[in-house]
């Protein structure tokens, strides 16, 4: 088994399209998909992000970070949220991704989430992180 993150990536247009969708309707389609993941016993975590217009970008292209407010204007892609699922293979993760109730023009990136056991266990930072995960149940 392996954990995969389904990362929702939108464009200004697809986000606008989603914003134009009646809230009840969106709740229904997204809820239905989430329910599928829960029923299949594969859902680990999921979060959706707030309106990108409320967001902020910290840009590291210069010597010091430059902070700009949203909306992002020229950005090609906007992250909209993510799912973490525990599945048998990359193909299964992709199969779930294909079923996302996504707006036309958006994309979903499928990435494996390495477990902490894949890092050197005697590293002091890994030990600290493990302790935090143990305290908070994030393992």
């Amino acid at each position: 088994m392996a954990k995969y993150m389904l990362i929702m990536r939108g464009t200004d247009e697809s986000v606008a399209k989603m914003m134009a969708t009646p809230f009840e309707e969106m709740l229904e389609t997204v809820g239905r998909f989430n329910e599928e993941l829960i029923r299949a016993g594969v859902l680990v975590a999921a979060e959706g992000l707030d309106d990108p217009a409320q967001g902020v970008v910290v840009d590291f292209s210069g010597e010091t970070p430059v902070v700009t407010d949203g909306p992002y204007g020229e950005t090609k892609e906007l992250f909209g949220g993510f799912y973490v699922i525990d599945v048998a293979s990359k193909e299964e993760a992709v199969e779930w991704a294909k079923r996302l109730p996504a707006v036309a023009g958006s994309k979903c990136e499928v990435r494996r989430v390495p477990g902490i056991e894949e890092f050197p266990q005697d590293n002091e930072w890994i030990i600290k992180e493990r302790a935090w995960r143990e305290r908070t149940g994030q393992l």
Binding site: G41, E92, R99, L139
Partner: protein, 435 residues
């Protein structure tokens, strides 16, 4: 048809992976829908498997279809119609079934391709019952325990015969024969594809739970072979238990079982050492325990209690597992509570293994002197003869009591009886250390 995005041109390998992924997610719904529409579980499973075989060939040539589930279902339906037509020459009833299927009765959804939620080609109001009926029929009491396990993993879990064979360390033809025989038995007995009547429901659900438990146990303490854990098989049982909990949320034992599995699996990362050797509970690095699994187990146990009908045997075992999961060491474990829980379990679901575990808990809570007579009683009754567990516990108690020579004899006996090579080497190591 669209080529596979990630894998370049279609190939046998990419097709196999794509079919496996879809099948894992959809097998239960596909076979469930087919079984309801054909009224024939055996045929439904046969045509579903034929569709999978056909997919392996077609998808490796043309790529994965845009709607893989609809593709599989349509292919399986075509096979079912062919079969009914062949049989209609002998029996007119099949002609009716064939024409019903041809009219597209099976598919209720694929109308508007722009509406993604309508993609799924089955009736959303009935599919839950179909999947549940599938679980009940796969775990039907007319089947042998091995057949129930194989059939459940195949039709509900969507595992291939090869995967099941690998998990149970038996040749693939053995599993295939087991499944074929199981389907024939169901057809011969005339088991209908439907939910069991209300008065049988509870008992039959118990049968389903015990199949999931057996699958998990095989994954968590492999009875044979050189690997101690088969986490993927154990995870499969957890996935099936989650499915069942969603379908039967009002049964306390469904949540009790899920809690037990989550809490037991939480200890997996600490149960084997770097070379795959067994690590005993007392020596486990508890920091390696999977906290999220513990949290999920606690939540499931909470749902079981919240139904207000008391805990059943699985719920009690989950409570015991939780006593371990919430303790920072063996010494700080609430052994008195564990003794109480085992006593309750002895009354609800008496078994020599439970009595043996109760004796171990008493040894921890009150000392080995109190536990030894209980173990001797079990030995005298002969109810666990042939199991390595009894001599290994007895050996352990004798060590604590300083009766080293007797302890060594017991541990050596335990090692001879143990079929798992990893566990056996732990027992032998202990025996040698006593010299």
């Amino acid at each position: 048809m669209t080529p596979e995005a990630a894998g370049g041109p279609p190939s046998a390998e990419s097709a196999r992976r794509a079919v496996e992924a879809v099948w894992r997610i959809e097998s239960a719904r596909i076979v469930g829908a087919l079984a309801r529409y054909t009224g024939d579980f055996e045929l439904a499973e046969d045509v579903a498997q034929e569709a999978v075989t056909e997919a392996l060939v077609t998808w490796s040539r043309d790529g994965t279809p845009t709607h893989p589930v609809s593709w599989l279902l349509a292919t399986a339906r075509r096979r079912a119609i062919d079969s009914f037509r062949r049989r209609s020459a002998l029996d007119a009833r099949y002609a009716v079934l064939a024409s019903r299927l041809t009219e597209g009765d099976l598919s209720s959804g694929v109308t508007d391709p722009t509406d993604r939620s309508e993609d799924l080609p089955w009736d959303p109001d009935r599919i839950d019952d179909d999947v549940l009926a599938l679980m009940f029929i796969s775990c039907h009491p007319v089947l042998s325990p091995e057949a129930r396990v194989a059939l459940t993993l195949r039709v509900v879990g969507g595992l291939s015969s090869e995967e099941i064979a690998r998990a149970f360390l038996v040749p693939t033809p053995t599993i295939q024969a087991r499944i074929t025989r199981a389907k024939k038995t169901i057809a011969a007995v005339g088991v209908p594809f439907e939910l069991p009547p209300a008065q049988q429901r509870h008992k039959r659900l118990g049968g389903v739970l015990s199949v999931l438990y057996v699958i998990f146990t095989e994954g968590s303490t492999a009875t044979a072979g050189d690997r101690l854990l088969r986490p993927d098989l154990a995870y499969e049982a957890i996935r099936l238990a989650r499915m069942l909990a969603a379908l039967q949320p009002d049964d306390p034992e469904v949540h009790g079982l899920l809690a037990l599995l989550e809490l037991t699996a939480a200890r997996f990362p600490a149960r084997t050492g770097p070379d795959g050797e067994a690590v005993l509970l007392e020596d486990q690095d508890r920091r390696l325990w999977d906290r999220s699994a513990i949290r999920r187990g606690v939540a499931a146990l909470g749902r079981s209690s919240a139904l207000g009908r008391g805990l059943g045997p699985y719920g009690l075992q989950a409570s015991i597992a939780l006593c371990h999961a919430s303790a920072s060491s063996v010494r700080e474990t609430d052994w008195e509570r564990i003794v109480l829980l085992y006593e309750a379990l002895c009354r609800l679901a008496p078994s020599p293994i439970v009595e043996l575990n109760r004796a171990v808990a008493i040894a921890m809570a009150e000392g080995p002197q109190q536990a030894l007579p209980l173990v001797d009683e079990l030995t005298a009754s002969g109810r666990l003869s042939g199991s390595h567990l009894l001599p290994s516990v007895r050996g352990e108690l004798l060590i604590q009591l300083g009766r080293t020579a007797e302890a060594r004899t017991e541990l050596e006996l335990a090692a001879r009886l143990c079929r798992n090579t990893r566990e056996r080497s732990v027992l032998l190591r202990k025996a040698v250390a006593l010299e």
